[in-house]
């Protein structure tokens, strides 16, 4: 654990006094301290293109009075700097008349080990694997024109000091390994991308030559795309494969169920609590407690232990995801979903690992049930307008379905739908739920946080596919 006050002219007890004094008439608030170390090693175009290391240290001081949030952050952990922040907060909340809520739930559970993945593997070992990746892929096919592979590793230590001196802390490891391949055949170029990651050591993900599986998958996707034909345009049935395609859940309903948008009534879901928003058999949870997953957290960035939150149960909307601020204003409790990218940002209610649970259909049944449609297996990313409810996601590997059979691969296309109604169009839920490979980052209000998704195969009756073939 980091000792944030070791090299500072500010002692822990002085900091506690400033915090308590600043927050005395506020409803909530805390000092958030963060020390993160991260590395990036990139192989590209046959060379180690980049090896970089970042060390980031800072604090964010937050005071909340009723709905108003005052925030100030700085890189300098010093008496002067904290006092200046305190003055900023107090000048914004001059008329605060609240009562500080000291209560915060506790838990002894931890969902990852206290390790620093960067130090667990030497630079030379990492460079060797990247070089092996390049050689392995380039020896597989002469169509390969470009290989990019990289390691991203991080250890983030956080400490939350609340008014009265209560302190909560967490050390979070995170790694990612990505491979991207570009193929060329008869002048046509296509790419394939795949990666793995989570909150464990590099070796957990790379052992037994598992890196080769990552390479093979990227190459397989690129090869499929090389044979793809233009995607169709218009409304049709869509079968989604298990795992990563759950980006659909994340975009279509996840963001719309975050507490802030519902408190402000700007989400298309704000007046649908307790109502049917999905087909029977559809259950969606947001879970921060799965061991070592990318979206898991022992405590959130306000110090609340994370949990498994049921969002939609058998088609009925049950819960929103809450941080402390929105929970208090909506008279409910925090679900341990208060997150921030780093100390530069305010806390917002965010997703962790968002998952649709298994049903009892098979993927074969779904394909057979489609006369004309598409089967989407892999995705690039998505986006949502939470107010209108319209969301998109971009497929990077998809096939046409003709008369109950999988046909030719089709080019990447954007799929668009309506969040509050799309899950009512789910007519079959598969028995093959799968987690994503651990590479997702979710963006909201300019803040990126690591998240996970999971789902079984599903059949959607009607979605608009944004291809070019009419």
């Amino acid at each position: 654990m980091s000792n944030f006050f070791e090299k500072s002219d500010l002692s822990r007890s002085e900091a506690e006094n400033i915090i308590s004094e600043t927050l005395q008439k506020c409803d909530d608030g805390e000092l958030y301290l963060e020390n993160s170390k991260s590395e990036s090693i990139l192989l590209d175009d046959n060379k180690i293109k980049n090896s970089s290391y970042n060390s980031d240290l800072g604090f964010g001081f937050r005071a909340i009075s009723n709905e108003v949030v005052a925030y100030s952050h700085s890189n300098e952990i010093s008496k002067n700097s904290l006092k200046q922040s305190s003055e900023n907060l107090k000048s914004t909340l001059k008329s605060a008349k609240g009562t500080y809520n000291y209560e915060i739930p506790k838990s002894n559970k931890k969902y990852y080990e206290n390790i620093n993945p960067i130090e667990q593997k030497s630079l030379n070992e990492k460079i060797k694997i990247l070089t092996d990746v390049n050689n392995y892929l380039r020896s597989k096919s002469d169509k390969i024109k470009q290989v990019t592979a990289n390691f991203l590793g991080e250890q983030k230590s956080v400490e939350i000091i609340r008014s009265g001196g209560e302190t909560l802390s967490d050390v979070r490891p995170l790694i990612r390994f990505n491979v991207s391949v570009m193929l060329e055949k008869n002048g046509r170029k296509e790419t394939g991308v795949y990666g793995v990651g989570g909150r464990q050591s590099y070796d957990t993900y790379l052992k037994d030559d598992n890196w080769k599986n990552v390479c093979d998958e990227a190459l397989r996707i690129a090869s499929v795309n090389l044979e793809s034909k233009p995607a169709p345009a218009g409304e049709m049935k869509v079968v989604l494969g298990p795992g990563w395609p759950a980006i659909l859940i994340h975009e279509a309903v996840g963001h719309g169920l975050e507490g802030d948008f519902n408190r402000k009534k700007t989400s298309a879901f704000h007046n649908l609590m307790g109502q049917k928003v999905a087909s029977e058999g559809v259950t969606i949870i947001d879970d921060g407690t799965i061991d070592n997953r990318r979206g898991s957290l022992t405590i959130d960035d306000e110090g609340t232990p994370t949990e498994k939150t049921v969002l939609i149960e058998n088609g009925i909307l049950k819960n929103f995801m809450q941080d402390r601020l929105n929970a208090r204003l909506m008279k409910t409790r925090s679900t341990g979903s208060g997150r921030r990218e780093n100390y530069r940002h305010i806390v917002l209610p965010r997703m962790r690992n968002t998952m649709m649970l298994s049903g009892n259909h098979t993927q074969e049944e779904m394909i057979k049930a489609v006369d004309k449609g598409i089967f989407a297996v892999s995705f690039g990313g998505g986006q949502v307008d939470i107010t209108s409810g319209k969301f998109v996601f971009n497929c990077t590997e998809a096939y046409e379905i003709v008369n109950g059979k999988i046909g030719s691969p089709i080019k990447g296309a954007t799929l668009i739908g309506d969040g509050p109604s799309i899950l009512k169009e789910v007519s079959m839920v598969g028995n093959d739920m799968m987690m994503d490979p651990g590479i997702g980052t979710c963006g909201k209000a300019g803040q990126g946080v690591p998240v996970g998704v999971a789902q079984p195969s599903i059949l959607i009756n009607k979605m608009t596919v944004g291809g070019t073939k009419l």
Partner: protein, 438 residues
Amino acid sequence: MVKDQEFLKKKATYCLDLANTLGATDSSVVVKNSVSETVNFRNKKLDESNRSDDLGISITTYIGKKKSSISSSNLLNENLNILIEKCVETTKNTPEDEYNSLPDRDLLAKEVKDLDLYDDTHIENDQKINYLKKLEESASNDKKIVNTESSFTQNKSNFVLANTDGFCNGYKTSSFTASSVTVAKDEKSMERDYEYSSKCFLKDLDDADELGKLAANQTIRKLSPKKIGSEKISIIFDKRIAKGILSTFTNAISSSAISRGTSFLKDKVNQKIFSDKINIFDKPDILKGLGSRNFDSEGVRTDTLKLVDQGILKHYLIDTYNGKKLNLKSNGRCGGTSNLYFENGNISFKDLLNSNSKSLYITETIGHGSNIVTGDYSVGATGFLVENGEFKYPINEITIAGNFKDMFQNIILANDLEFKYATNSPTMLIEGMVVAGK
């Protein structure tokens, strides 16, 4: 207060000297400080105040043709000592790359012109609050507006870029940004839209009243949208979307994408990729320009480039590393373009709307559907159906798709260019794109 040049230069020199002592043959360093103050309003009341003071340093060390870099927000010498030692160690263990080097000395910027990028005015939070009150009053005038969120940010930044070839320069910049996001509601729908203004000088910022009114009107007109059928149709891109197409073009001509072979515009220099009427400029020396700069992120002089001349691609955007790989000289575009724009077309906005009996006017796109390897484009879109020059009704839950190779050839521009962002386009018409809807 933002840190002064003297402080930043002292830190930069300290790092270069230390790297040299520890065995680096060359090195470069950037030291930055940025101080921002933001006030947010929601439904005519104070919602958030936010002050940020960000320090940052990034150092790249070279040992011959080996290179590595570090960055940190902790500028205490004690921390820098540890990090620079680590950086030099890592450099020793990183394989050589023949193209690694500092920029050519003769390309480095010799003088720093005053481009009028810094306004010393400090706007107190109380004044920001007055502006936002006025803005939100105007934005929430109509009963259909059910939520307003507005924001005012003042940012002051300063930086120094230095390298062991004697380059050591930097300057202050400022920005004042106001924005308003409104939500409108009727029986059938709820919609969101926005307006914003960002300027180097406080006095140039748009009027609060005007900004609020625009945000509200742009949202209200989107209410009760319809979904249309799938068809081939002409698309008119609002200026705020058209500039995104220009950005995709610049991604595709970046020397990194070109040297890696991952761009559909590779080997297209001196070829016609747009129609004859299209000219594209990147002009770094516009006074008060949002993208203006004296040199690029390596210290290389930046001159105005006519990237596209009568439809013909004239330049890639070249940095030192990829330039050496492509056997071309850096044209000062490490870190991208400056003030980039399409020159005006020769028809009015009204004539552009009238040029087809039926078209779609797009005001927002969602999704990351631009592929610069293949040129394929497919995104979710929101907008209006235009018939015989008139806006008929709002449209959503559709996608628009095409391939940039064809789209570029079919661009027709109106004559309504304005410099609102760093990258700007007049209203743009592209014929023959595919809409997917019902």
